[in-house]
């Protein structure tokens, strides 16, 4: 059973976050939204496990 990992899991978290922001630098709101959407799809495909993905959607929805 593959669980959604909700513990810290990204080494160099600050670097990752900076990279994420940098990718959006200078983009219009529209282009940024599109980038986020593409990124989301790339990551979702990499995970590939429907149970994990469903869990992730639920966690994201509950955190607002």
């Amino acid at each position: 059973m593959s669980d959604l990992n909700l513990q810290p899991n990204i080494p160099g978290a600050d670097d990752f976050y900076a990279g994420l922001l940098a990718a959006h630098d200078g983009l219009s709101k529209e282009d940024s939204d599109a980038l986020n959407a593409r990124l989301l799809l790339v990551l979702a495909n990499h995970i590939g496990d429907r149970a994990v993905l469903d869990n992730a959607i639920a966690v994201a929805k509950a955190s607002a």
Binding site: A34, R38, L41, V42
Partner: protein, 536 residues
């Protein structure tokens, strides 16, 4: 020259039933001579059930509506004796291309598996489809079968009773009454029968309009399905181009919600749109133009006592996926043998409830698929458009995103998983032939499995022994004995055995699997026959 859809095919003529003092009672009356009503009538007449079809019109479909017909309906039409003319006239295709903005982002091939007699898809105008069905009716009449189509017979009132239905019918020579032991309502999405009986039809309307144009042109586009998201000639919307026989091309242009339908339908508005798409110099002629709003909805159940609903009257889908007529023929395929057994007293009336259960299941699957396609093609919110466009952008370079592109999930038959007519699966065999599945075809020498199965209960044995005939409470089941060793293609093994050395299948008249085991067991198969006919 007149188009076939402008010529009366079953002109009104007076029936002796109109002169009867008291209403004549017919075993089966079908309302509607569309593809589904005709399919139902042919199926029943072939089984010697007398049938009368009533239609308020006297012509085939005005203009082509349905154009894509899938493999399973073609197989059903083979059993109805008119698959061949459809395939001969139809245009076969299997390649689809998807464009986004100005770019082709990918193409797909419906790659038909080997060993099927019929192609994955043909395109054919609905008016030809109906014409060939009407021709088949004429052929059956010549063979002495009791089947008639009464043109300009408009049903204006219906009374539903415990053991029959009453009908009031308007004709050019005035009204008359008729009774039916069984009534099959194939009177289309607006079904007057459904309305007159006060029955529900619930679902979703998609707030969008589509211009559907059939144009005649000499063009060298290939015989492929071309689908555009957000093309330069129809900004922010979608478009579809598809070939039909006789140089007729189907074009769908999404128009959006806030439009004036009457204005948009005028040739002076349609032609510039088409020129923007096809090019200024392409010469074409308009055959038929219409504007549709699509819906996905269904009745809660398809049987109401002696009244049975089939086709668009029972369920309606958006056309992305070509699931309308294709699924309607699967309704009548499911219904006709059951009704025949009930009429002959060989099965209880309750068997007809399984028609509703199984085909509601099919309709749900079709509605789910068409709704999802429509949601992809017509995003309902800013975010759904952003996600949709992200999928399309990624699909151009990355394989992974292609399965997410949804320009229509093309019609495939449904498996009646969980049907009350199935036995539990007792074979560790292939998924595609588990109980409830439609039998996949296999080439057998010069013949094909589905032709050999025909339209009766069959005991299919593969490298297994069994009696040549079993009779269980009036139901005769004949054996079809095959050996995987003689099948050099390996398809019989791959589709029906898997890793098992032998198998015995009970196959229903609609060619769906009712039960399967590694070997014959008389008690178990007798039980399976009873179950498949609603007796336990």
């Amino acid at each position: 020259m007149n188009k076939i859809f402008e010529v009366p095919m079953y002109a009104y003529s007076r029936s002796p039933d109109q002169d009867s003092e008291t209403p004549i009672r017919r075993p089966v009356v079908v309302i509607g001579a569309g593809p589904i009503g005709l399919g139902a009538a042919i199926d029943l007449a072939q089984q010697d059930v007398p049938v009368v079809v009533l239609d308020d019109n006297d012509k085939v479909s005005f203009g082509s509506r349905a154009v894509c017909y899938a493999k399973r309906p073609l197989e059903i039409l083979d059993r109805l004796g008119c698959g061949q003319p459809m395939v001969d006239k139809g245009v076969e295709w299997s390649i689809g291309k998807v464009f986004f903005d100005e770019r082709k982002i990918f193409e797909f091939d419906l790659l038909p598996e080997d060993g099927h007699e019929r192609p994955a898809f043909i395109n054919l105008q609905q008016y030809y489809f109906e014409e060939y069905l009407v021709n088949r009716v004429t052929e059956l009449q010549a063979e002495g079968k009791q089947i008639e189509i009464r043109g300009k017979n408009k049903v204006s009132a219906i009374g539903a009773h415990d053991n029959h239905a009453t009908l009031e019918i308007d004709t050019p020579e005035g009204p008359y009454n008729l009774e039916a032991e069984w009534l099959i309502a194939c009177d289309g999405a607006r079904s007057p029968t459904r309305q007159m009986m006060g029955l529900d039809f619930v679902g979703r309307v998609f707030e969008d309009n589509f211009l559907i144009a059939d144009v005649i042109m000499e063009a060298d586009f290939p015989t492929e399905r071309w689908f555009w998201f957000d093309p330069p000639f129809n900004k922010g919307q979608s478009a579809l181009l598809h070939k039909q026989p006789d140089n007729v091309w189907r074009i769908d242009l999404q128009l959006g919600w806030d439009i004036d339908k009457e204005e948009e339908k005028k040739p002076e508005n349609v032609i510039p749109r088409l020129k923007a798409m096809l090019g200024e110099d392409v010469e074409f002629e308009l055959e038929w133009v219409s504007i549709y709003t699509f819906q996905c909805r269904r009745m809660e159940k398809f049987r109401h006592g002696r009244v049975l609903f089939a086709g668009d009257s029972a369920h309606q889908v958006s056309p992305f996926g070509a699931r309308g007529a294709n699924s309607g023929l699967q309704d009548t395929d499911n219904l006709a043998w059951k009704l025949k057994l009930v009429i002959d007293g060989k099965a209880p009336e309750a068997l007809l409830d399984s028609y509703s259960q199984e085909r509601v299941h099919g309709a749900e699957e079709n509605i789910l698929n068409s709704s999802r396609s429509t949601d992809f093609i017509t995003p309902k919110s800013d975010m759904s458009r952003i996600l949709r466009d992200a999928v399309l952008d990624l699909a151009e370079t990355h394989d992974f995103a292609r399965p997410l592109v949804n320009a229509g999930r093309l019609s495939v038959p449904c498996t009646y998983d969980g049907s009350a007519l199935n036995m539990a699966d007792a074979l560790d065999g292939p998924e595609c032939t588990r109980p409830g599945s439609p039998c996949p075809d296999v080439k057998l020498g010069d013949d094909f499995l589905l032709r050999q199965l025909g339209g009766e209960f069959t005991l299919l044995t593969i490298d297994a022994d069994a009696p040549d005939l079993i009779e269980e409470d009036g139901i005769e089941v004949t054996r079809l004995a095959l050996s995987a060793k003689e099948d050099t293609t390996g398809a019989l093994k791959a589709r029906y055995l898997g890793d098992e050395p032998s198998a015995v299948y009970l196959i229903r008249p609609d060619q769906h699997v009712a039960a399967r085991r590694p070997s014959f067991d008389e008690n178990l198969f007798r039980a399976a026959i009873r179950r498949a006919t609603g007796k336990e």
